[in-house]
Each structure stands twice: as structure tokens, then as C-alpha cells.
Amino acid sequence: MLLALPILVPLAIAIALQLLPHRPRLLRSIAFAGALAILATAISLLVRVEAGGIQVLQVASWPAPFGITLVADLFSALLLVMVGIIGVAITGVSFAGVDPRREALGYHPLILVLLMGVSGAFLTGDIFNLYVWYEVMLIASFVLMSLHRTRAQLHAAFTYVGLNLLASAFLLTAIGLLYGQAGTLNLADLARAWPERRTPALDAVLSMLFLTAFGIKAGLFPLFFWLPASYHTPPAAVSALLAGLLTKVGVYSMIRVFTLLFPDPGAGVYALILVLSATTMAVGLVGAIGQRDFRRVLSFNLVGHIGFTTVGLALWTRAGMAASILYLLHHMLVITSLFLISGLFLRQRRTTDLRALGGVYQTQPVVACLAMVPLFSLAGVPPLSGFIAKLAVIGAVLDTGHYWLAGVALAVSLLTVMSMARLWDESFWKPAPAPSTQAPLGATILTPIAWLVALTLGLTAAAGPVYTLSLRAAGQLLDPGSYVRSVLGEEATRVAR
């Protein structure tokens, strides 16, 4: 039952929010309570998975390959906790005020529906359900993105909608072909039967289709162009939500589907993912250097750092996978808080153009200190979480002897430092080009950012235990047999790897 709660709670809250009278304070409080409830269920699920191994729920007690299966292993449970954390931050920001028109059009229920979609994607044990959850969160994000009608926002929304629907079509095609050959959609059943079939030609087609579909969602080179073209236009809370969660669902699905369906580390697709990860890092960060807008710099950084999270899958080692998981957790926290910080500029200066920003360090040292943590954590400055996660990734890369990739990762880290230093310099340190006319920021909007910053510092302090947990999660991912046994029962053991 606990497994269904991260899906049922946001659904119930979203319905309640639609039915309740339109009083902003009430709606905001209920949405916030819903996010807190997701966080609480996610944490208890993580505790249970940590103690008792992979948790499985066969909905309505239909046996595994026939019914709907929800599965939580350590990887999904860790990411679910992040959904809760980010959900709390985003719904918390609403207390500082939401555009009234947006709020009247169902801003809060949509946030909850999006959280439900993401939780569903992390929990599902069925590849067709994965597609359905994708559509749930996509349609929520589409509406969140296009609730406004400035030209830039409409253009961004169309780019976003078009490319993501294309990705969905690719995913559906892959699922259709897979079902035609394998006759099952349950991920565990597929993991049991599919790799045994050894049909290299079909495997190549399917892995490319899945790679394209998830690559578009994750923002992998060369499929990422929709992301920097769209993430800088919606209100800061929305772009923070999308940046923190949606691309990560792409990464999650890629890791989940590839480890289960193509458990052959020698397959050509992994060499391709390795090259694509390196190119994503390089292109993303080189792109970031040329940008003059706070949020566009962040978007390109978001893309570039996705490369670090897919490296682990390509390396196919326990250390590599664990490093990528740690990086994913770190990146979700940091990029969400940075997008929220861009919202502070929007509030005070009505723009995130770097040329119009500045002077925050002199006038609002508290804000500058808050922003310093995620900025320098993303840059990988020791001892912050970004440094530890990058160290883990580069260590894992060196272990496997891909020295060129370690070189790329280090060069990209240097570029990240440059781009973060530039953000810091332009938007916080340099004197303000014009004095701010807006009132100083209140505690309501700073608290959610402080919450994410505190958790970033917490991740830094607890990096050891979290890394150990990531190692265990990586162990589960690299042993599809344990997933199959948990879902299908012990009799499936003989065929599983």
C-alpha cells in the first residue's frame, strides 16, 4: 500500500484542490501539505526498501506479468525522496505569491499532477505504464508552461510540446515493437525473457529507439535543443520544477530500461552513450559560456551536467552507476535551488539578463550567501556536494581506463567553474547597474531556497552514507536478477542472470 501512496496522495490532493473554493491561502497550504505528505511517504518507503530490499505491489493482487506492478528499489526510492523534497520547495514558494491568473487556472493542482506523474514513472514496473506516466507529467508540464501568453513563452511552449511529443511517439514505437516480439510489457518479465532471445538486429533497433526517446526527455546531445529554448521563459517556480524533475525522469528511465533489457555491457549502444555523455557535457558547458541570461546559463548547465549522470550507465560498473546516482541527487537539489534563485531576480528586477543584475552581495548579503552554496556546489568547489559527486564520477571513469573521458569531465568542470564564477560575478558581486526599486525579499520566498541549500549542505556532510546507499542502489541495478526475483517470485530465478 505504501508503494501506491506517492501516486495516490498527489492525485487525491489535486482533485481536492479543484473542488475547493478559490481561496489562494487555502489552496497553497493544501498543495504544500500534499507535497509534505509525498515526502513523508517517500522517506518511509526509502526506509523500508533500505531495510527490506526491493518492495513490490501487485495492484489488485493480479499476479505479476498480467497486472499492474509497482516496484521500488533503492534507486527509485531515493529519487522519490527527491520528488518530495523538490515538491515541498516548489509548493513552498507559492506562499510568496503566484500570478493570480495562473492560480485561477489551476496552477496548484497541475503541480500536484506533475508530481504524481513523476512518482508514477519512478515506481512503475511496466513499460507501457512508464509511457502513460510520461504523458501524465508531460501534459501537466505543457499546461504549466503555456498558462501565459507572451510570445516568447508561447514559442518556448511549442518547441517543448513538439519535441516531447516526438519523443513519446518514439517511445510508443519502441514499446509496440518490443511487445510484438516479447509478448509482455512487465519490466521484470521482459528482463527475464528478453536478453535470452539474443536478436542483435532487433536489439539494435530497440535500443536506438529507446535512446532517442529517453535522450530527448533527458536532454542528451544531440537531442537537447528544445531545453535551453524553453526552460528560461516560464515563471521561476515552474522552470525550477521542470529542471529539477523532468530531465531526471529521462535519465532514470534510460538507466532502468537499459539495465533490464540490454544487460550486455559490451553492446555498442553503451559505447555510444559514453560518447554522447561526453559530448553532452562539452556542448552544454561551451553553450553556457556564450549566454547572457541567468536562466539560459542555468539551462545549458542543466544539459551539460546530464552527461555526468548518464556516464555511469555507459561504464556499467558499480562505482560508475553509484557515482551517477549521487550526481543525480546532487544535481536535482542544486539546479532546482538555482532556478528558484533566478526567481528572486525576476521578482526584484523583472529580468534575468546578466547585464541588468548585480549588487546583491552589497544590498542583500543573506540572499548572496544562500545563492553561493548551490552556485559553488554546481561548480564543484570543495567541499560541497558537487565536488564529491564529480570526484566519484571521475574516479569511476579512471577505474575503467577511459582517460579521455576523465579529461573531458575535468575540462567541463573547469568550464562549469568559469560559468558559475561569471554568474556570481555578474549577478551578485558587480555593482548594480541601477538601484533596485522593489521591496527587499521576505522570509517566505527565501525559506524554500534555504531548505534546498540546507539539504545541499546536508548531502555534503552525509556524502559518505549517501554514497554507500548509492553503491547499494547501483548493485541492485546491475543485478537485474534481484529485480526479477522480487517481482515474479523465486521460480523465475533459474532463467534470470
Binding site: V132, A152, A157, V161, T173, G180, Q181
Partner: protein, 113 residues
Amino acid sequence: MELLLAIVAGALYATGLYLMLRRRLAQLIVGLGLLSNGSNVLILAAAGVTRGTPPIITDTAVTADQFADPVPQALILTAIVIGFGVLAFSLVLAHRVHQSVDSDDIDMIRSDF
């Protein structure tokens, strides 16, 4: 029958992708619709078409593989519903673009960048 469906699916994918590469929003949306229908036909073709044997078991002695598989049809039905919702949304979005820009050329929207 499968061959015919495969050709139809291929044609739908090709026209859908071609239309998505055009600059006009209306064509983009029609392209999306064709593409999602293409994947529906593909699911049907990939799972195999069985004539005259609905999946209703009256005689318990026969095995399941003699019957048509109902799952692909369930998948297609789900995909049609989702595709319909998404298409409706894109039409509304395109309508709003047309209202605010007075054009359905995708490059015209970004003229105030």
C-alpha cells in the same frame, strides 16, 4: 495483412515526420496526429493480426495462443485516448498562438526575442 499494415504505418510515420519539419503550426499538429496513429498501427502490426478468433475461451481444452491477443488493442486504445488529449491541447495552444501573433508560422512567434 501485416505487410499492408506495415506499409501504412511506414507511410504515416513518413508523412507525420515530414509535416513536423514544416514551419506552419497547423501542419505540425497534423503531423503529430499522423505520427501517433502511425505508432498505433505499428503496435497492431507488430503484435500480429489474427482473423476470426476473438479472445473468448468457451472450450477449456484449447490453448491461449490460438486466439487473437487483446493486449495490443488495449494499448492502442490507451494510446488513442492519450493522443487525442494531447492533440486537443496542441490545437488550443496553436489557437492561442494565432490569437496573439496572428500567424501560424512558427518562426513569426519569436520575432520579439
